[in-house]
């Protein structure tokens, strides 16, 4: 319990976590729960991270992906308001593809894909956030691509 935040700082960070989680889960209620948990964990951390926003982004994404990667939740999440939240058919289809990739990819690869593809981060920024080299990020994404290709071929 070594970290102190003002109410305003904590609220900003919850919003950071909420935005990340909401994009993954498309469920405002679940995203709110994750935002609360994320900041709670930050407050329980021993030392303040260099960038609390980055820390909350990573933690919220990890918690959200854990939910998505649970098959039961994934079905529920995909069903939940899917039509209302994804009016464009191609967006909905792409989202399903993303969720499938998240389920099969390693946690780091799933996070790298999210940061790079959805969050619009550079390889460098993603590598720093995940504490790996840029080369590792590229390799992770290449592996995701290969796995996806293989799956598509199997389906055909």
């Amino acid at each position: 319990m070594g970290i102190k935040l003002t109410d305003e700082e904590a609220e900003h960070l919850r919003q950071v976590a909420f935005r990340v989680s909401c994009k993954v889960l498309r469920s405002e209620q679940n995203a709110f729960d994750i935002a609360q948990e994320t900041v709670k964990r930050l407050l329980e951390a021993k030392t303040m991270p260099d960038s609390p926003a980055a820390w909350c982004t990573t933690t919220a994404l990890r918690l959200s992906l854990n939910l998505v990667r649970d098959r039961t939740n994934r079905v529920r999440i995909l069903d939940q308001n899917a039509a209302a939240l994804e009016p464009a058919a191609e967006d909905a289809e792409q989202r399903v593809q993303l969720m499938e990739l998240f389920e099969s990819a390693s946690e780091r690869a799933a996070m790298a894909l999210w940061f790079r593809f959805v969050n619009g981060m550079s390889s460098k920024e993603t590598a720093e956030l995940l504490n790996v080299s840029e080369r590792t990020i590229r390799d992770d994404l290449a592996k995701v691509r290969e796995d996806w290709k293989r799956r598509l071929e199997e389906e055909e």
Binding site: F18, A54, E125, R138, W148
Partner: protein
């Protein structure tokens, strides 16, 4: 998600706009003055980034809406819990320790712990009269209970439907269950199980079933030896 996933994976491009994280760090005041000025200048003139900012504002509004709703509900339920305590409701609070839930009696002079079971099972035996209000809170030690399901198992060992008058409402990071004894158990005296099951933490982990053993006394005017909470398993 403008670019298709397939195209992106074929050749992941480097971004030409600030990432969501940079915008977050900007909002949280984590950028240097120089970085903030550069980012602001870009966002001011970039239609793509302005659309991104608009989408962020929508999410922020959604966050604020839920925050206010939950805050209002929490205040209402806390007021209810306090009023319940004043009028003699047996109010229990439950907190899980590790994989199991644990119930801990908090207040209420009509509830009395009759016996103790191994703490890991989370069982407690309570006595209730028909007219006694019954209320308890179920919450995990970490995270939040995303949902719960209550089942009443009668003295004959058969499960009974939970009447609609039993209120199950969100309270903080758990659930507040309240009812009158007669609504929860009917009119048949005997030992009942209130089984809390199907609860999942906010992270999708299923919690183990929790049985609260209740000795239902039926229509009596008072509960023997009732002079306040008696929690023989108090921490």
């Amino acid at each position: 998600m403008k670019q298709s996933l397939r195209d992106f994976l074929a050749d992941p491009p480097e971004p030409t706009h600030p990432s969501e994280l940079q915008l977050d760090r900007w909002a949280c005041g984590e950028l240097t003055d120089d970085e903030a000025s550069r980012l602001e200048a870009h966002v001011d003139t970039c239609p793509h980034c302005q659309a991104t900012m608009q989408a962020r504002r929508s999410l922020d509004a959604a966050y604020e809406r839920i925050r206010r709703r939950r805050q209002g509900r929490r205040q209402a339920l806390l007021a209810l819990a306090l009023a319940a305590g004043a009028s003699g409701v047996g109010l229990l609070t439950g907190r899980s320790t590790g994989p199991a839930l644990e119930l801990r009696e908090a207040r209420g002079h009509l509830a009395k712990v009759m016996g103790t079971e191994p703490q890991t099972t989370g069982q407690r035996m309570l006595r209730y009269a028909a007219s006694s209000p019954v209320a308890f809170v179920v919450a995990p030690a970490k995270g939040e209970a995303a949902s719960i399901d209550i089942e009443i198992i009668g003295p004959d060992g058969r499960a009974r439907a939970v009447p609609g008058s039993v209120r199950i409402e969100r309270l903080g990071d758990g659930w507040f269950v309240s009812s009158e004894g007669r609504a929860l158990f009917g009119h048949e005296r005997g030992t009942y199980l209130v089984r809390v099951r199907g609860w999942r933490t906010g992270w999708g982990r299923a919690g183990p079933p929790l049985d609260i053993v209740v000795d239902f006394l039926g229509e009596v005017s008072s509960v023997d030896g009732d002079s306040g909470p008696h929690n023989t398993n108090a921490e």
